[in-house]
């Protein structure tokens, strides 16, 4: 009996595609031969919209890009604009930005581990990680009023000062964090089913990863120690000592481990920033109507999903000429086919989860 290849459609409405992603799979029996992602189901025309908004008006819209890590998007855009303006941000504001960005990285990774484990079948982890995430969202809500779409970073600094109350909340979160990460690791790290479903699955080599432009934890899981916070430090990251977890397996399991270890490093950074928070202003003087003389700048940061970049081009008015966002998820998703080929059909969900994509960022 001859087997033939079947074309299967996954999505755009699907519980495990992390949003409205459509995958056209070609499978031969159970083995995947080709994967073609179809995008655009969440294309909102953000870049076109940004050309008709002023520079500060764009900041809250960047929240909606990677909606699991809103502060990172704010930071990426605001740093690019400040570089274009040549604005020096006070040190206190830079430390507060680091605290917010690393808290957001924790929240994003906790949501990621919940979703990925849920997709593979370990549903308990979703409820645990979302409960831990709620504590971090409480901090954001107390600090600036927003849980998810935070708008916690403004051009020139941060919107509010970090007082002892919020700092105390953050310390309590950090105190409870090691046990919570350990809880999740106990459920998954040495779990036989987890290992079976993630070890050796979706392997990509370092050379392929660089060619495909992979960045972030998936790249660091192939052995390439590229982290923008160490490469081209921004916002005073050079003041803090932290490790960059790097593993060499290139499979789903190593991507999982890299992110779990990154969470511990983030906690370390936040503690250092809180302990060393300098006195001073939390906002630089920015004109009410912000006009930037013509120029262009390309700036990248290490967002939880990978290397997030913003290209901002100004033309002397109060609205930008062009703002382009380099989306890490868009670029990382390109190598999904490379990772899935030859694996089983049921591994596609795990590989997609390990890439940690967000459709808001992919489709803009």
């Amino acid at each position: 009996m001859a087997f033939q290849e079947i074309e299967l459609n996954m999505g755009p409405q699907h519980p495990s595609t992390h949003g409205v992603l459509r995958l056209k799979l070609t499978v031969d029996n159970e083995v995947v031969r080709a994967v073609e992602p179809v995008l655009g189901y969440l294309h909102r025309g953000m870049e076109k919209l940004w050309e008709s908004l002023t520079y500060p008006q764009i900041v809250p819209l960047t929240d909606r890009l990677d909606y699991l890590a809103a502060v990172s998007n704010n930071l990426g855009y605001v740093l690019a604009v400040e570089k274009l303006m040549g604005l020096e941000v006070p040190k206190r504001a830079r430390y507060i930005r680091v605290i917010l960005a690393e808290l957001q990285r924790l929240a994003s990774h906790l949501a990621w581990v919940g979703f990925m484990a849920n997709d593979i079948g370990a549903m308990t982890v979703l409820l645990y990680s979302f409960e831990d995430r709620e504590d971090i969202l409480d901090v954001f809500e107390t600090y600036c009023g927003g849980r998810l779409t935070v708008h916690g970073i403004r051009i020139g600094g941060v919107p509010f000062d970090m007082d002892a109350g919020v700092a105390g909340m953050i310390r309590r979160v950090l105190d409870g964090l090691p046990k919570r990460i350990a809880d999740i690791e106990n459920l998954l790290d040495d779990n036989r089913i987890w290992l079976h479903r993630t070890r050796g699955v979706g392997v990509i080599s370092a050379a392929d990863a660089m060619d495909y432009g992979l960045t972030g934890p998936p790249l660091r899981a192939t052995g390439v120690p590229w982290d923008i916070r160490k490469e081209i430090p921004y916002s005073s990251y050079e003041d803090f000592s932290f490790d960059v977890p790097v593993l060499a397996g290139g499979d789903v399991y190593d991507r999982y481990l890299v992110r779990m270890r990154e969470m511990r490093q983030s906690a370390q950074i936040i503690r250092q920033a809180l302990d060393g928070l300098p006195e001073g202003e939390f906002q630089a003087k920015v004109p009410r109507i912000l006009k930037i003389p013509p120029g262009e700048v390309f700036h990248t940061i290490e967002a939880p999903k990978g290397e997030l970049g913003f290209y901002v081009r100004s033309n002397g008015t109060d609205k930008p000429e062009r703002v382009k966002m380099k989306s890490p998820s868009f670029i990382n998703l390109q190598c999904l086919e490379r990772m899935c080929k030859g694996n089983l059909f049921s591994d596609v969900v795990g590989i997609l989860g390990s890439l940690d994509i967000v459709l808001g960022e992919i489709d803009k």
Partner: protein, 167 residues
């Protein structure tokens, strides 16, 4: 027999109350999580805000098994025919909640690719504003939906099928 029942409306209203009590306390959402609002919807279903105390923890992945369509997030023109098809696949009685500013009226995106409100393609029962609405906001909207269901008359739809909503 139906004539006899109609001569005693008291019986029908008691039956109505029983049916709507069952419906409103066991809505099974079809979580069409499109964008950021989907994350708040999942947070509502998680341990802290616990949507299961309303009977709604069973988020179905298939529209055939669900009766509450929560449109959570931006509906783009590309996604619109799919949303319509999903809604048509749901069996009656079904309700639709437009969660978040994008589903209500296009949100902050007056662009070439965004549908300015999901009520342009499917009828909506409850509109929940917010960008995204907090879990408390979503729960409040769902409680309003429960109140709306409690005030509906399923027996009339059974006895008079022509009065049933067919759009």
């Amino acid at each position: 027999m139906t004539d006899a029942a109609e001569r005693h409306p008291f019986l029908l209203t008691r039956l109505d109350s029983a049916i709507t009590w069952a419906q409103k306390n066991s809505l099974w959402p079809f979580g069409s999580g499109l964008a950021c609002c989907a994350i708040e919807m999942i947070a509502t279903a998680a341990a802290r805000y616990d949507i299961s105390r309303f009977g709604m923890e069973l988020f179905r992945a298939s529209p055939r098994q669900a009766d509450l369509f929560i449109v959570a997030g931006t509906v783009t023109n590309k996604m619109a025919p799919i949303i319509r098809r999903l809604w048509e696949q749901m069996a009656d009685p079904k309700w639709v909640v437009a969660m978040g500013n994008c589903a209500v009226s296009g949100g902050p995106f007056p662009t070439y690719s965004v549908l300015q409100g999901v009520d342009k393609i499917i009828p909506v029962d409850v509109y929940i504003a917010g960008c995204p609405p907090t879990p408390q906001g979503l729960l409040h909207g769902l409680m309003i939906l429960q109140k709306k269901i409690a005030g509906s008359h399923p027996t009339k739809e059974i006895l008079h099928p022509d009065a049933r909503r067919t759009d």
